[in-house]
Amino acid sequence: MIVRLLLFAVARDIVGCNSLEIELPGVPNIGAVRAELVRSHPRLAPLEKYLMFSVNARYAGDDQLVRADDEIACLPPASGG
């Protein structure tokens, strides 16, 4: 399955683009998206544990399953305000 992943802030700068398409086997969960993102972009490894993810604009844990049409985003720690 191919999932599209939005990237923000330092994660976007490191990867070098606003969004990525990631191919994953079976019915992937967010943990698999995270692992594949870091595997394909090793410079994200030191940040991995700080990165949060969302599915369809809601924070999502590693166990959450994703579908092909979900909007998935990788969110570094927020600094608004």
Binding site: A9, E71, A73, L75, A78, G80
Partner: protein, 140 residues
């Protein structure tokens, strides 16, 4: 009401929107871009947001604040894009019959906004370098 905007925030307008003869207290918080942080000068600040999600989270913050406190008006406006030092990045205004609720709600809103709303700040220093601010994360 919540709003994300590329235009300069006018705090006085945000305050006006919570005004009511039923309120006894209005509290306005304005977050501004500081020019100096630990001796380094900020030339510009850039705010990026995941707009769709940020709006939903801001609406949820307003709803939760209205559940927790007896608020009459509640307005949250966050700017994104590029800001000059001194410009407002966020304005939060609440009104309430009594002041304690207004203070508590305003403070909870800005504290929680900073934690859960997907907005990111990038310092653009006067020496030409720039740096995303990601609290708790080691520098890259």
């Amino acid at each position: 009401m919540v709003e994300l905007t590329l235009e300069p925030i006018r705090p006085a307008d945000v305050l006006t929107r919570v005004h009511s003869t039923s309120a006894g207290a209005e509290v306005l918080f304005v977050g501004t871009a500081r020019e100096f942080t630990g001796g380094r000068r900020t030339a510009l600040l850039h705010y990026e947001c995941y707009e769709k999600m940020a709006i939903v989270r801001l609406q949820e913050l307003e709803a939760e604040a209205r559940q927790r406190w007896n608020l009459i008006g509640c307005e949250i406006v966050h700017r994104f894009g590029t800001l000059q030092p001194g410009e407002a990045s966020v304005a939060i205004a609440v009104s309430s019959p009594h002041r304690q609720e207004a203070f508590q709600a305003a403070q909870w809103l800005i504290d929680t906004l900073k934690e859960v709303v997907p907005i990111w700040k990038q310092e653009q220093w006067s020496d030409g370098s720039s740096q995303w601010v990601h609290p708790g994360m080691p520098p890259t």
